[in-house]
Structure formats: structure tokens, C-alpha cells
Symmetry: C2
Subunit: 593 residues, 2 copies
């Protein structure tokens, strides 16, 4: 492998010389700036051997560097060994950002290239400007790897399926008209959408181009008369093609770059963080406006039919959880169980639920110290046996035909230590405080974030992932534009938005704790001060009562837990296996005396 | 007056025609984008007769409009009557922003002018671009009012006094070197500072150019060799001029515009929100960098000597409060007292304190419904008698030679209603939650804001002013860059920052409640999760115990109040008038049983 990487780098360097480039930047993105990419775009892995999900690669004529974050330091060091690629540990004191590294090491007049298709317009412009200040040229190129990577996986082209309006709650004609009215209001003439989960939402189509993400590679052009969907026509059955052809004209995926030149008249509206640089010249032909895709905002607020589907998905998930874990003897700490077995057990029960399509992301099942790595993924080698008392963080989710779930529970094997109970209770207090907060219209996620942290901060603890992300409707498990985190993302929470509520505490080498429900924004009355909103909790799975230190809870918190548990019991009791009912009853008994 | 306004408008319109302008924008700013301006810059009042502290004026060849916010709707409607100036109620549905109003009403090719000196570079650029899109020209002009306003007040030129290093805690040489090292790190060659309270801080000088703000009109040029202070030399005594001349060269205020052209070499660093448009051509000569003045960040973190001075100021303020209100019989609701009398009583006691310089802003004293107007200012006409039971919001502050205070207490005359006690307690709970929160390093004010609101939101109430503003050290009562509010101002709270903690509830026509202390950020330990910070409460004045509904408080809140009250008692007991001690003891008795 090491030798192969060396050959690939040499081959890339030959292409760089032909293109008169001194440096080549590999962003690791696809042509849509997606969070998860199809194998065709695993460029980072191809050129360095590193298989992690995040990282930036720089290649010069005599060196190569990979930047990645702390989750991957150990794995990357291991995988890069002997490849000639140096590991740059992001966030570590003294390690420069890739662009600063280039500025420090390049000589004036040098040229840095990157594949035009794998960088957003905004990011390209930012880097171009920064490099120009240092007398360096930043140029968007063809995909140099295409010529180096002989057995590169083809672009995915999975068959599309149609989501009926009875599940989607709105037909694509209606969705298009929403977009067109916002387009008109913006004063622009057309928009180009490159965000593939948005296109799946607009068209009410789903496919399987990306693992766990039921999307298909596509672009969409919309003006007041036309809507053109650029995606491989082979993926459509005749029936589906027929049924959508009154709304969209379908053109091949790659045709978008040529077609757009003739389709585009007047001012463009586009999301310059999501549209790749190959579109730059056309989109900026007239003084366009950049901003989030209109569809991103519309998609974020689930309609009543989608919300019903989300509720149903959570009933199914809750039933599967209870069926699965009623079979487990949590007193066993003799190695009977392991991380993968626990996660597979849940997956197997989920698979029995009607409308189940598969996981919504790769499950996380981390026992003991593994649970303290927030993005740990158990592999055959790492798979830890449950051979002593401890906590297991289980973060999993389902795609259903009619919705999606994302759930984390921290399971206890054997007896808990006082520290574990205290930490779990602090996480739970934050999780509950966020879920029960009423808030005024216009409130943004960053305002609510501290609710999940205030109790643990008092005890000198914190966590470093987001508190809540938006969730798609049988789409991507991470969906914007809203978030609940300390980052000042200026997007108000609106009725129908579904976000996660997932605080945690991670103690390196000891234990991890995370508790996650999905919650949906709902109306909560109007007063002389304004309109108020609050959350409806969608997830229906008991908390781990053996980890709750009730002496740390207020009466309000106790009653919140008890009424949640009684909701869980009522929703699931008739639906779980007969043999699981006693377990469900035990898990949802009132805590308050 | 109405007639005079008409004449002034006519005269301005003649100047507009000479300058080939169809519209003229009057921002109401001074040449430094200050929050409070000297009489010389009360341009809004001169041209419309409106005396409020905020508003934007637009004049066309046949119309004139004043935009102002809801605080001033009634006053503005009254003052504009018969002047020919139309009132535009900002924030009211259907009322366009000034720029949108121009775009809707101007014809292509028209020219909009504004005084170059009274608009920031950033705002100018933004408007210029927006207008250009609609085929309109936005031009920076001379001050057309100068030629219209014959008896315009002169620029202020009050004498400066020097703050000794024993009070300032750092000499100006040291402050300059802080700025120079940040300047070097930015890669820029010089900076122009236009923020006048920053210049007062850098130079350790104070004056009285603006009411309640001990500042002097000035600009400062700094590069690695020189520091030039542009301000009228007449304001210096020989002694002061001597003592600063080894650090700063002093040049006349108006000389800055010509001098800068020769002083400026290389790249500029400047705050384009604060530097006026007359500097634009010079500052943008080379590719400069814009950002907050380096001094703004340095000034925000009070040094240990300044903090000591702030603590001392709050002891003085607390003594004055107790001395003043021990004289008041709060059971009297027969008109014995009125708003101004109550506020004057406090002011008179403050004036007895050593080092007292005057109020830090115009006091707010609002009884009953007047207290529900957050920015109410009692005038001889509005001055309400306390002739029935009710709440009085008293928001006042002091300038001391060694610091500053800003304090709000809600006083009760007669007996409280259950609603008043509930509302006061909800405000207090928020105020306490913010003051006691421990938080991780890097936390920004917007993350903490909800702590002050979460209890009242639950009951369907809220407030619409900031929760906390930064406070100067014998400087401006509102000082950036940090804030505690819902606005995503991306400035972490750092040790030494002093902010207010002032939630409120305002019920129109009924009552207002606000409780305000100043709090300072301090270290609070380091754990495996990072460095933690928390607040030290500086203000030392009892809460109104008769308004506290202890049944709504947790044990933690009760003990927080009791330990605060015991701190207040200890700090003040020996210093208050002998006759006031019983009052102090009564006000600070423990609430917990």
C-alpha cells in the first residue's frame, strides 16, 4: 500500500507539472459539497491511504501533507506511515492551517491548483484572495486525479423511487412554486440548486447513491418557466419518468455544465457554499445574489404529514429498542456481549419494523473508554467485549419509508459508580432542560445551547460536539440550516423543524455518556409579549434509570422524566413483544415517590 | 418652531440643488460614530425639531421624513407636527427602511448625498452598492448643514485632565505598545483610531466634550514609530502637554484629514464601522484590513487596578443608596414623593462620595406605567407623583475618578400585588441565574443571554432590550465589544470584562421591573475539560425583599440572595450614616428560614 501511495503521488506530480502547478489541494469533497460522499470521490483515501471521514490534502512537487482532526490522529498516523505523506494535526498548537502552510512555504509566483468541481465558489474566492495577497496564484483545474486514478469507481447511478404525496405531504409542483415565489421576491431570474438532499426533497424522489443517505447525484435549474433536473436518466423507470415529466425536464448529470450556459438568463440566485467552482463564470455573469438554497429553508420545516411520519418512525424505533433490550441481561459483565453484538441486536429488531429501509448512519456502539471517543466506530478489530461493569454509548438511527430516527442511549452493564451516576444525571438534566424550554418566536439555536450545558459547566465539565443538529425526512441525518450549538448560526427555530437534543460527557480512558432524543418545534401560545414555541419530544425510549441520581434532580425534572416515561409506556405497550412488556414496565416506572 | 423647520428645509434644499442632489441623508452621527453626540452634531434635531436620541432623516426636494423607533413614536409625532417632516415608525409592519424608501421613490439616475464625515466607511460602501443596483448614485458630500445652520454650536473643546497610573493601572506607553504589537501581527503598517473613548483610554486623559461621557474629540494615528493625537491643543495645560509629549505628538483636530495623507505609508488597519468616510480614499489606498480597533479589545478587559477602582466605586454607590433610601418612607403613597425627587435624593447622596464626578448617564426614574417604558426619562412635565401603591424603576449610575457604576433597582411604594411579586421574582431569578453561572473559556455573551430569560419565557413574558452591555472605566456607560444579548456578537467573555446583568419585564400601562448589577468576569478554575470562568458581582445594593415571592425560589437561589445580602451588609455597614444602619440591616436580613 505504502508503495502504491508513492506511485500515485508521483503520477499526480507529473500531471501537476504538465498543468504548471507547484501545489495541488485535494478537498475531499464531491461536486455538491456533501457531508458524505460516494466512493467516486474518496480522493483523500486514494492519494494518502487515510480512510477517515474528514481531512484536507496538499501535495507539492516534493512533499505531501494530510490535515485531519483529533478524532483521527491515531488512525491517520498509522495509515500514513511509510507513505511519504506527513500528518498535520489540526487544532494542535503550532500546526498551521493548510493555506497558512502554503503561504509560509511557497515562493512568490507559485501556482496552487485544485479541482474546480470539488470546491465551493465561496471557498475558492476566499482562498484566491488570500493567496493573491502573498503573490500566489490559486487556480481551478480539471480533476487531475481522474487521469491518475485508473480504477476510480464510477459515479453512482442507483435507481430512484418515488415518495407518494400521502407520505411527503406536498407534491413537487407545490414545492417548486414555493421556490419560485421566493426567487421572484429575491429579484433574481433563476437559481441553480446543487444540494442533493434538497433536490430529493423537491422532487419527492429517493435513491441510494450515498451510504445511509437516500439521495441521487443531481443538479436542478429553476426559473419562472422551467425546471430542469440534471441526473442520469437511466435511473428512472418509465413510470416514474412519465409521472415527473410534467414538472421537470430530465437531462443527463454531466450536461449541466454546458446546458446552464444557454438556460441562464439574467441574475442568478445560488448558494456559493454549495455550488462548485465550475459554475462560477456563468453564475457570476450578471450581478447575482448568494444565499442558502430556498429549498433548504422550506425542507427544514416538516409539514404535518411529514411530522406524522416522524412520530410513527419513533414508535417503530421505540418498539425495536424495547424488543431488543428486553432480551439483554444487563447484569452480565463476563464478556457475553460485545459492542457489535449489542448494536446488531437493535438493528435486527429494527429490521422487523414495517417500512424500515436501513440505518440512517453508521451505528456507534462504544463500551467503557471507547464510549469516550464521540465518533468511535466499532470495527472487527476494536470491538470491545463487555467483560467488566461499565457504560455503553449506543448512537444509532433508522431510515423509514415515512421518516427517520436518530437516538442515543447510554446503557449500563453491571453496577454504576457514583461518578458515572453523577455524570449521567448532569447530562440528563441538560437534555431535559433543553427539551422543556418554552421560547419566544425568533429564538435561534445558539441561544438555547447553554441549557444543555449549564449543569455540567457548574461541575467543571463540558462537551465539544454540537448539542443538536437538524434531521431530514427520510433524507440526511444531518440537515441544516438550523443547529443547536454555540456557533452563532443566525437561523430562528420555526414550527416543524426537527432537531436532536444530545448533550454528553466524555472522560478519556474512562467513560462516555450521551443521551439523545429528537425534538420537533411546535406552537406554544401567544401572550401580550409575543408568540411562543416549544418542543415536542419524538423519541420514545426510556432513559437508564439505574444511572439517575434522583438526589440531584428537582421536582420539575422528576415529573418531566416520569411523564415522558408514561408517554413511552402508553405508546409502545400494545406494540412490543409480549415478552418485552415487563421490561418496558420496569424501565418506565415512576421515579418520584 | 414649525415655521423655522420649514425655512431650514428650504435652505437645505437650495444647497442640495447646488450640489446636484435629489435626496439628502442625515444620519445624526458625529464624526466618530459615537453613541452620544455633542450639541454640534444634533443635526437631526436642527432639521426636524425632534429631540429624541435616535433617528434617521431623509430630505428630498419636496419632502422630508424621520425614521425613529417605538420609544419615540408619541414624542416624535408631537414634535414633527406642522413641520412638513413625516414620521416613519421603524419596525411597524409596512414601514420601509430609509434605503428601501429611496429605492421605491427615486427615479433611476437620481443622486443621494450624505455628509462624508457623519457616516462610517462600511455603511457608506453598503449603501453605495445597494443604490447602484437600482441605478442610483450615493455620494459623500461636505456637510451641507454647515452652510444652513448659522448658529450651529461650535465643536466642543473642554480641558483635559490626566488619570494617574495609580488609577489607570497602565501607562499610555504600555497601551501603545500593546496596540503596536497587534498591529505588527496583523501585517499592517499603521492604524487610524477614531473611537474617542478608546483614545481617552490609550492616553489616560479625560475631558467633558459629551454629556456624561468623559471624552474629547480626537483621532489617533499609530505606526511603529509615531503616535499622533489629533485634538485641539487649547485643551491641554502646559503640564499635561509636557507629560504626554514624550509619547504623542499633538496636532489640531481638523488637521487629521490633511496630515493623514502624508503620515500613511503602507497598509492600514482600521475599524470601518467607526472611521468616517472622509478617510476612505487614504485608508483604502493600499489593500488594508478592517476590524475592531485593537484598543477596543484591550480596553474591555479591565486591569487589576481598574477592577479595584470599580469595586471601590460600587462601595460608594451602595453607601449612597442606603443613605438615600433609609430616609424614604416607602409606605407613603399620598404624593409625598415623585419620580424626580426620588432620583435626586440618590444623586445628592452620591455627590457626597469622594471622587464623585457626576452621573454616568441621564437617570431613569419611572413610576407605575412610566416604568414600563424602558427608556423613559422624567421631565418636569411628565414627572409622576407617587400617589398610589406601585413600582418605581430607578436606573442610574455614577462616574467616579476611579471607576463607574450603573445600577437599576425596582422600588416598591405601598403594598405589592401578587402579579408584581411574581413578575419581580421571575426577573430576579433570571438576574441571579446569569450572575451565578460558571462557564467555559470562549463562551460568548449570546450563549448566556437565555439564563436571564428562561424563567419568564416559561410564563409567556420577555423583554426587548439587551440583557447586558459592557461598561467603561470612567468612560462610556455602554462600551463594547462584548454584550449579553440574543445578537450573535462573536466576542468571548474574558477575565476583567465588566458587563451589566439587567433583565426586566415591562407591561404597558401597568408596571415596569428591571434589576441591574454590574458583574466582572473572573477565573474559576481549570479541569480536564478546560479553563472555566464566572462572574464577580460588583454592585452592592440590596434587592427589594418585599417584592420577592420566596415560594418561587429554589434553595440555591435563596442562598445566593442571602449571601449577596450579607456581602452588601459587611461592605457598607461601617460606611453608611449611623442613622441608615437599621435600614441596611432590615434590607439584608436572610430570607431563608
Amino acid at each position: 500500500m505504502q508503495e502504491q501511495i508513492g506511485k500515485r503521488l508521483d503520477s499526480l506530480r507529473r500531471r501537476m507539472k504538465e498543468a504548471d502547478l507547484d501545489w495541488y489541494l485535494i478537498t475531499g469533497s464531491d461536486a455538491h459539497m456533501s457531508e458524505y460522499v460516494a466512493p467516486h470521490w474518496r480522493t483523500r483515501e486514494f492519494i494518502t491511504g487515510f480512510t477517515g471521514s474528514a481531512g484536507t490534502v496538499l501535495v507539492s512537487l516534493d512533499g505531501a501533507w494530510l490535515w485531519t482532526d483529533s478524532r483521527y490522529f491515531i488512525q491517520a498516523a498509522h495509515q500514513l506511515e511509510g507513505t511519504g505523506v506527513s500528518l498535520m494535526r489540526m487544532g494542535v498548537e503550532g500546526v498551521p492551517e493548510p493555506e497558512d502552510f502554503v503561504m509560509d512555504n511557497a515562493t512568490r509566483g507559485q501556482r496552487i491548483g485544485t479541482c474546480a468541481q470539488e470546491i465551493g465558489i465561496h471557498e475558492f474566492d476566499r482562498l484566491e484572495k488570500a493567496y493573491a495577497r502573498h503573490g500566489l496564484a490559486f487556480v481551478a483545474t480539471e480533476d487531475l486525479l481522474d487521469q491518475v486514478w485508473s480504477d476510480r469507481p464510477a459515479l453512482p447511478c442507483t435507481p430512484v423511487r418515488q415518495m407518494p404525496v400521502s407520505i411527503a405531504g406536498m407534491d413537487s409542483m407545490h414545492k417548486l412554486s414555493l421556490i419560485r415565489s421566493r426567487l421572484a421576491a429575491s429579484g433574481c431570474d433563476y437559481t441553480l440548486i446543487s444540494t442533493i438532499d434538497d433536490i430529493a426533497w423537491i422532487t419527492n424522489l429517493r435513491a441510494d447513491d450515498v451510504e445511509c443517505n437516500p439521495v441521487f447525484l443531481s443538479f436542478m435549474f429553476i426559473d419562472q418557466e422551467k425546471a430542469v433536473l440534471f441526473t442520469q436518466p437511466e435511473r428512472f423507470s418509465d413510470t416514474i419518468l412519465d409521472s415527473i415529466s410534467n414538472v421537470f425536464r430530465v437531462r443527463p448529470y454531466e450536461a449541466v455544465y454546458d446546458d446552464l450556459a444557454s438556460l441562464a438568463h439574467g441574475r442568478a440566485y445560488y448558494d456559493d457554499a454549495r455550488v462548485n467552482c465550475r459554475f462560477r463564470d456563468i453564475l457570476t455573469r450578471e450581478d447575482g445574489i448568494t444565499g442558502r438554497d430556498f429549498s433548504t429553508d422550506a425542507k427544514a420545516c416538516k409539514n404535518p404529514v411529514e411530522l406524522e411520519g416522524m412520530r410513527k418512525s419513533h414508535v417503530m424505533d421505540g418498539v425495536a429498542f424495547v424488543n431488543a433490550f428486553s432480551q439483554v441481561d444487563f447484569s452480565l459483565t463476563d464478556g457475553t456481549y460485545d459492542e457489535i453484538a449489542i448494536s446488531s441486536l437493535f438493528a435486527a429488531e429494527r429490521a422487523k419494523m414495517p417500512g424500515y429501509l436501513g440505518p440512517s448512519f453508521n451505528p456507534i456502539s462504544g463500551f467503557g473508554p471507547n464510549g469516550a471517543m464521540c465518533h468511535y466506530s466499532a470495527s472487527a478489530e476494536s470491538n470491545a467485549r463487555i467483560d467488566r461493569p461499565g457504560l455503553l454509548v449506543l448512537d444509532t438511527g433508522s431510515q423509514f419509508e415515512y421518516g427517520m430516527t436518530d437516538l442515543t442511549r447510554t446503557l449500563l452493564f453491571g453496577e454504576a459508580t457514583p461518578e458515572q451516576r453523577r455524570d449521567y444525571t448532569l447530562v440528563l438534566k441538560g437534555h431535559l432542560a433543553l427539551a422543556r424550554q418554552r421560547f419566544i418566536q425568533g429564538t435561534r439555536g445558539y441561544q438555547l445551547d447553554i441549557l444543555a450545558k449549564m449543569f455540567m459547566w457548574k461541575e467543571g465539565m463540558s462537551f465539544y460536539h454540537g448539542t443538536g443538529h437538524g434531521v431530514g425526512f427520510n433524507l440526511n441525518v444531518h440537515e441544516g440550516p438550523m443547529r443547536i450549538s454555540a456557533n452563532p448560526i443566525d437561523v430562528p427555530l420555526e414550527v416543524g423543524m426537527v432537531v436532536s437534543d444530545e448533550p454528553g460527557i466524555y472522560k478519556e480512558g474512562r467513560h462516555g455518556i450521551r443521551i439523545e432524543n429528537l425534538i420537533a418545534v411546535k406552537e406554544d401560545g401567544e401572550t401580550e409579549f409575543g408568540r411562543f414555541l416549544s418542543f415536542e419530544t419524538l423519541s420514545l425510549v426510556p432513559y437508564e434509570r439505574r444511572l439517575i441520581d434522583t438526589s440531584l434532580l428537582t421536582a420539575e425534572e422528576l415529573s418531566q422524566i416520569d411523564s415522558y416515561h408514561s408517554r413511552v409506556r402508553e405508546a409502545l405497550y400494545d406494540k412490543v413483544d409480549a415478552g418485552a412488556r415487563a421490561y418496558l414496565e420496569r424501565m418506565t416506572e415512576p421515579l418520584a415517590v
